[in-house]
Amino acid sequence: MNELRRAWLITLKDLRLEFRTGGRLLAMIAFVVLAGFLFAFALDQSQVAGRDVAAALIWLVILFASTAGAGRIFDAEEEEGAFRHLLLTPVSRPAIFLGKTAANLAVIWLVTALAFISLTAFLGVRDTGSPAAHAAVFLPGTIGLAATGTFFGRMSRHSSLGDTLLPVLTFPLLVPVIFFGATSTARVFLGRPWPEISGSARLLWAFAVGSVFIGAALFRHVTDE
């Protein structure tokens, strides 16, 4: 059987579990909405325009929410020891990684959309720029977040520090995503032409592709004993 089909089956299973369990998704959604709400109060909008800081805050909220969620990606797998049996099927480790990354990505997209809507609303950003340009920036950025979160979410399972370890491992690695993501999104908010943004978007794609390939190649080291 095609490994991509197996990865897809894992994605579908994960999403089904995600929506039936709801806990992780609800926690992430609540965090995003509350963060946007609090930022609106924390920011003196008479001194700083919401549009000037919205991009940075959106990316930070997505980063924090996705990292918090990454620690729970393997909860359903470990609950009754199902991951052990998944590993004993003929499915390859890269396919498991891709399947779980894709499911994580779908959740992160939901969080991203919500973060974008709530923060632009709470910060009073009226003109948000081209939706297509935003999509072209968020797509590679969130792929990078999803792949990194899935890999280190698994790795943190082996540590007694658990979820505490996750931000320590991932935040330094995700500096490029935050930097290029936030600067690109800020430029889209300002209505800058695409050539001013495409360089950063290309670097986000490079990070996304690199994190997916490296994660897939190394995943067996964090799964197999």
Binding site: R6, L9, K13, R16, L17, E80, G81, R220
Partner: protein
């Protein structure tokens, strides 16, 4: 077909769970592994199935080394473990369809129905696993193990939680597998069932093999002694 573990050593930190264990299981043979708690039975099963790479020693099938990294090997293996290995929020049928599809079982729906029928759990197909009793979960776990028609079975306390009817159904299924030529390694604490069902019995104590012989010639009193002499003195 002969499955062989030679000189298997597995450690958890400073503790040696297995210390140079040799074991052989042929086709059409049920080998029972018994021993007191902490003897290394589950670790032995994990090493044989390829779930855990032994620190030393080798597992081979017909003389060729096997490894959990080989998808071909994993496709031939069926495992029942302490925990059910099922997704609680999925229904029984969803769980089994998922695993059947990953194993590339032809016509997974039929295979699922047949596996549930074999283990007497056909009526549970639409029920979520979280709503099942421990015994029902164990039945479903067994059905999942038989789905892809594995010719090498590793069973860790498979009778736990089963009612007499389900236990009898499992015994029948195992005997049928043995007749079909499967290699079956069974970890159990149930000496009566072990002697009744298995062809050979291997006794472990503190990671060492202390007995390996035909069940026909095994003395139940002798076997029981291995449990009561405690793990402190394997000799």
């Amino acid at each position: 077909m002969t499955l062989e573990g030679q000189g298997l050593v597995c450690s958890y930190g400073p503790t040696r769970a297995l210390d140079g264990v040799d074991i052989v299981a042929g086709d059409g043979e049920i080998v029972a592994v018994v021993g007191p708690n902490g003897a290394g039975k589950t670790t032995l099963l994990r090493a044989l199935s390829g779930e855990r790479r032994p620190d030393q020693g080798e597992v081979s099938l017909d003389g060729s080394p096997v490894s959990g990294a080989d998808p071909g090997w994993r496709g031939r293996v069926g495992l029942v473990s302490h925990r059910t290995g099922l997704y609680r929020k999925l229904s029984v049928a969803e769980n089994l369809n998922f695993f059947a599809s990953l194993h590339a079982v032809p016509n997974p729906r039929n295979a699922v129905a047949q596996a549930l029928e074999t283990i007497g759990a056909a009526t549970l197909a639409g029920t979520r696993v979280e709503a099942l009793s421990r015994g029902q979960c164990q039945r479903v776990a067994l059905a999942r193990t038989l789905l892809h028609d594995p010719d090498i079975l590793f069973l860790d306390e498979p009778f736990t939680g089963l009612d007499p009817a389900a236990a009898a159904a499992l015994e029948t299924a195992l005997r049928a597998r043995r007749t079909a030529g499967s290699v079956i390694v069974l970890v159990t604490h149930d000496l009566r069932r072990c002697l009744d069902l298995a062809d050979r019995v291997v006794v472990l104590q503190r990671g060492h093999k202390v007995h390996d012989g035909e069940t026909d010639s095994a003395d139940p009193v002798d076997l029981l002694r291995y449990f009561t002499t405690t793990a402190a003195d394997p000799s």
